[in-house]
């Protein structure tokens, strides 16, 4: 396999991401202080609202990138993805602070248990539904999402019911605990980067090529010996496992979880992130997750300031979904990128007399 230019490689983008993540907390906390001629502060113990929002964006990036693979490559929608997120969060929450348990696990042990459990559940749902084409996975996940939501609300002995689970301990390794917004930003940002690199590598691997073949045409892929159903189930499991990981991170970060963080509207929100980020675009997931996380915060703020604009989230999400899908079915950022590329090509007349071997690298 021939390599593309260095600046299109996953490694390059991961490096850039690492540098950006490393410096963000410093900018966010110290720049305002420097502008007011105050001393910079020791970073790791600082708390900051913006950093909290950025951490949430990172958590949603982990969720969106998995869903993005599922929607972009397997051509399937999960309308209950928040349920997998919730499974991860509640497995962590119950095992580390559940009221029905007398002995609790360490957060670092609960996290992988949640991931494995969720992946197995995804396997059980995905196997029968992904053998068939069409809407079946969307329906099954929709039903599953509601079942999980109702169980989380009603099984109050174990899940804490509507009032939720409190007192979930933060992640800790030995004596080092993640107990400040800066530490959490580094953890969630790093995890998001890891998830992105993982997914980018999956896309560029043998599995990824099979998936891209699926994307091009299922019949053709099947004729070439691609086990269509198996790859779809694999992607679905990966998406669910990533969601569980994100959920576990969220539970330990927020120290409190309640069913409302994992309801149908959150599943829709995740779909909005993918739609904005663009289908089959791993790095677009970051854009989508960040944009929608900030949009959510902004709308909540707006509603608090002007009562007339309360609860606009549904309208905003609905409009985005309908408009983007009708006019740009490949998603917002992908459509914008294609537009930019087309514009650039038009400015420079094509200088290629003979077709160069082109490596398809989706970034």
């Amino acid at each position: 396999m021939k390599r593309g230019p260095f600046f299109t490689s996953t490694f390059f983008w991961a490096l850039i991401g690492l540098v950006v993540i490393a410096f963000i907390p410093w900018w966010v906390i110290n720049l305002p202080l420097l502008l007011h001629h105050q001393h910079t502060v020791h970073l790791l113990s600082q708390n900051n609202y913006l950093l909290h929002v950025l951490s949430m964006a990172a958590i949603f990036t982990i969720l969106a990138v998995g869903l993005n693979l599922l929607m972009g490559y397997a051509g399937q929608v999960s309308l209950g993805h928040a349920a997998f997120y919730g499974l991860g969060a509640y497995t962590s929450g119950i095992l580390t602070a559940g009221p029905s348990l007398t002995q609790h696990l360490a957060p670092l042990l609960a996290l992988p248990i949640g991931i494995v459990l969720t992946a197995v559940v995804a396997l059980l749902i995905g196997m029968p539904c992904l053998r068939l084409r069409g809407h079946y996975l969307a329906m099954a996940t929709l039903g599953f999402g509601w079942i999980i939501f109702i169980v989380l609300q009603q099984w109050s002995d174990v899940t804490g019911g509507i009032s939720g689970l409190t007192g979930i301990p933060p992640l800790a390794m030995g004596r080092f605990a993640f107990n400040s917004d800066v530490k959490w930003f580094y953890l969630t940002g790093g995890s998001a980067l890891l998830a992105l690199v993982l997914c980018a590598n999956v896309v560029n691997s043998r599995v990824g090529r099979a998936l891209r073949a699926l994307h091009g045409g299922e019949n053709a892929a099947a004729t070439l010996g691609v086990n269509v159903a198996r790859y779809k189930v694999l992607v679905f499991m990966l998406a669910a496992a990533l969601a569980a990981f994100a959920g576990s991170l969220y539970a330990h970060k927020a120290n409190f979880i309640s069913p409302n963080s994992f309801g149908f509207i959150i599943s829709v929100e995740l779909v909005v992130m993918v739609v904005v980020g663009g289908m089959a675009s791993v790095w677009g997931a970051v854009v989508g997750a960040a944009a929608i996380t900030f949009l959510f915060e902004w709308l909540t703020d707006l509603g608090q300031q002007y009562p007339a604009f309360q609860d606009m989230h549904g309208i905003a999400y609905g409009l985005i979904l309908v408009l983007v899908m009708v006019f740009m079915p490949s998603g917002l950022t992908v459509a914008v990128r294609d537009l930019v590329v087309r514009f650039a090509r038009r400015r420079r007349p094509a200088p290629v007399p003979h077709p160069a071997p082109r490596e398809v690298t989706r970034v």
């Binding site: 539904c129 809407h135 969307a138 099954a140 079942i147 109702i150 829709v268 779909v271 549904g314 979904l321």
Partner: protein, 321 residues
């Protein structure tokens, strides 16, 4: 058999709720068979019918100058149905363009988006509180002596009759009329036959001179009107609120799947069955908290066992036997 009167009562309530699920399921079926789109905004049609009726019957009652301008209920219901049909028309029209590319995720996402949008608009227009809607006939519920005539051994010592509300009868009658009307429409009228032709083979229908896009939009309008009528009928029993469509739509949707997606009779039977099962589930100790989950467990189990619904399962059973 101490609980026999209870069972009969729950059975009746279940049949009434099931009739609504059946109508919603039929709405899904009409759209699915002509477009292969699963319309996740179907429940919103029900909500619009209910909220529209509420709005029109209580038109501006807060403003003294409009006092006395209440619309009579039949007019209000008809207007609400017409308004919802317009919304259905818009949705069908919006979906025309993506339908040509036929990407399943895009179609699902658009209907989900439309559902969010309609819910959001409804909550802005009418608020988030549940409102009461007039029943079709304002008469007190009556008790059937049916159970009293059963032998004492069956009913237990303190036998009491099944209480029936007029609105429940209305709902069931409406479902029956709709099913009969739709059967006639799809089998006897030119337009109905054209719609069926489109569902069987879109290209073939187009070659036969049927205007496919008109049929697709027509399916949306028909389905929206049916949903709205169901909403106006159920609202007096269950109250009307901005997100009542979510549960209503999803239950109807579960019924449509169990009935075999696209199967007209199947979805009616499945809707009734679902209503009854859900209603009887309340009687099982410990299960009543999870009443809403029953439909989804059935949906999920159906998809895992036999994704093409109960009819396919029965057919398969017959073949192997």
């Amino acid at each position: 058999m101490q609980q026999l009167p209870d069972i009969l009562q729950y059975l009746f309530v279940g049949l009434a709720t099931g009739s609504i699920y059946a109508i919603v399921a039929v709405g899904f079926t009409i759209i699915f068979s002509s477009t292969q789109v699963v319309n996740f905004a179907q429940g919103e049609f029900v909500m619009l019918g209910a909220m529209g009726t509420y709005m029109l019957t209580t038109w501006n009652w807060r403003h003294p100058e409009f006092a006395g301008l209440h619309w009579p209920l039949p007019v209000a219901v008809l207007l609400a149905v017409a308004l919802t049909a317009v919304v259905g028309l818009l949705l069908g029209w919006v979906l025309m363009r993506p339908l040509k590319n036929a990407s399943v995720p895009a179609l699902i996402i658009i209907t989900v988006g439309a559902s969010m949008l309609l819910q959001g608009v409804a909550s802005q227009l009418w608020g988030r509180d549940a409102v009461a809607v007039e029943p079709f006939t304002a008469r007190a519920p009556f008790a059937t002596p049916l159970v009293l005539t059963l032998p004492k051994a069956l009913t237990g010592a303190e036998a009491y009759p099944v209480v029936i509300e007029w609105q429940q009868l209305w709902v069931m009658a409406l479902a029956l009329v709709m099913v009969l009307g739709l059967t006639l429409f799809f089998n006897r009228t030119q337009v109905g036959k054209a719609m069926r032709a489109v569902s069987v083979n879109r290209e073939g229908a187009r070659l036969m001179g049927i205007n496919v896009s008109h049929m697709v939009v027509g399916a949306f309008v028909l389905s929206a009107a049916l949903g709205a009528l169901a909403g106006a009928a159920i609202a007096p029993i269950s109250c009307a609120y901005y997100n009542m469509g979510t549960m209503m739509g999803l239950k109807g949707f579960a019924a449509a799947i169990v009935g075999g997606l696209g199967n007209f009779t199947g979805s009616v039977v499945a809707g009734l069955l679902l209503g009854v099962v859900e209603s009887l589930a309340v009687m099982v100790p410990g299960l009543s908290d999870y009443k809403d989950a029953v439909a989804f467990v059935i949906l999920l189990a159906m998809l895992v066992i036999s994704p093409h619904g109960l009819p396919a399962l029965l057919r398969r059973g017959k073949e192997t036997a």
